[in-house]
């Protein structure tokens, strides 16, 4: 799912372009076939919670976190990537948040939030910028941080 680098791709996708922000183009370019590319080095995803790991507790970091397993608790980090198959029950707070897995609780994205097609979010979401992919499930309130 996650391909390596090409940081420009991420930036390119995050920046709102006419092609996907305007409804009158008639088609969604960001369909399920689109891939999200994340540059692990650039995003400083220096921490990883393994897929088999289950953690009960809180995490604070000034760099990035990649969650493949289960986290019951709150996480605050710069960049947070919740992988496909991962579960977070608690609040997620960060500048860049990319969700491909399941989140129950709350999401606060001071920068951008990406909801991939496999994302299942049962949470109240606060965001500055949001990119969603067709197929994601979102239950909860969406509120923009001004």
């Amino acid at each position: 799912m996650l391909q390596t680098p090409s940081a420009s791709n991420v930036v390119g996708m995050i920046q709102p372009s006419n092609q996907f922000s305007s409804p009158d183009t008639g088609k969604l370019l960001l369909g399920t076939d689109e891939k999200i590319t994340i540059d692990l080095v650039l995003e400083k995803l220096t921490s990883v919670i393994a897929a088999t790991a289950e953690i009960n507790g809180n995490i604070v970091s000034n760099e990035g976190y990649k969650i493949d397993g289960t986290l019951v608790g709150d996480i605050t980090a710069n960049t947070i990537l919740v992988s496909k198959g991962a579960v977070v029950k608690g609040s997620i707070k960060g500048k860049k948040i990319i969700i491909l897995g399941r989140v129950e609780g709350e999401i606060i994205a001071n920068g951008y939030l990406v909801l991939a097609n496999t994302a299942e979010v049962d949470a109240n979401v606060f965001y500055k910028e949001i990119v969603t992919f067709r197929g994601h499930v979102l239950e909860g309130k969406l509120k923009r941080i001004v």
């Binding site: 692990l40 080095v41 400083k44 995803l45 220096t46 921490s47 990883v48 919670i49 393994a50 897929a51 088999t52 790991a53 289950e54 953690i55 009960n56 507790g57 809180n58 995490i59 604070v60 970091s61 000034n62 760099e63 990035g64 976190y65 990649k66 397993g69 608790g73 980090a77």
Partner: protein
């Protein structure tokens, strides 16, 4: 003593590719007990106990555990405020500081490594 290479944070990207490894990166503080099935690498701070079932776990220089550390093989270059248990081998590098007891069945220890508690050989039933 042969020089052991403990990966720096820059090398981490190679480890991120490895499946089923948990990495607590630099600048990360985690307040939770980590009970893991696979190995763990700690560059940040863990406020809680760390246990990994299999593999070689690493506590890097600058890394800190406030709690006990349990694992199969352990490479320690950081600080542990608690006891250390290893089923197999413990490797203490020069910057290692353990404020607690050390339980092991095999040890490689740099002369500058500090252990403030007792050293217990696991195979010795009296000291277990």
């Amino acid at each position: 003593m042969t020089k052991l290479k403990v990966p720096s944070a820059v090398d981490l990207t190679n480890f991120v590719e490895e499946k089923n490894i948990t990495v607590i990166g630099v600048g990360s503080v985690i307040a939770a007990d980590l009970y893991l099935r696979e190995r763990v690498m700690i560059f940040g701070t863990v406020k809680g106990n760390v246990e990994s079932a299999v593999g070689t776990s690493v506590l890097a220089k600058g890394g800190k555990i406030i709690g006990h550390l349990k694992g199969e093989n352990l490479i320690i270059a950081g600080e542990v405020l608690g006891d250390v248990f290893s089923n197999k081998r413990v490797t203490l590098l020069d910057t290692a500081q353990i404020h607690g007891d050390l339980h092991f069945s095999e040890i490689i220890r740099h002369k500058d490594a500090r252990v403030e508690g007792g050293n217990f050989l696991r195979d010795n039933a009296q000291n277990r």
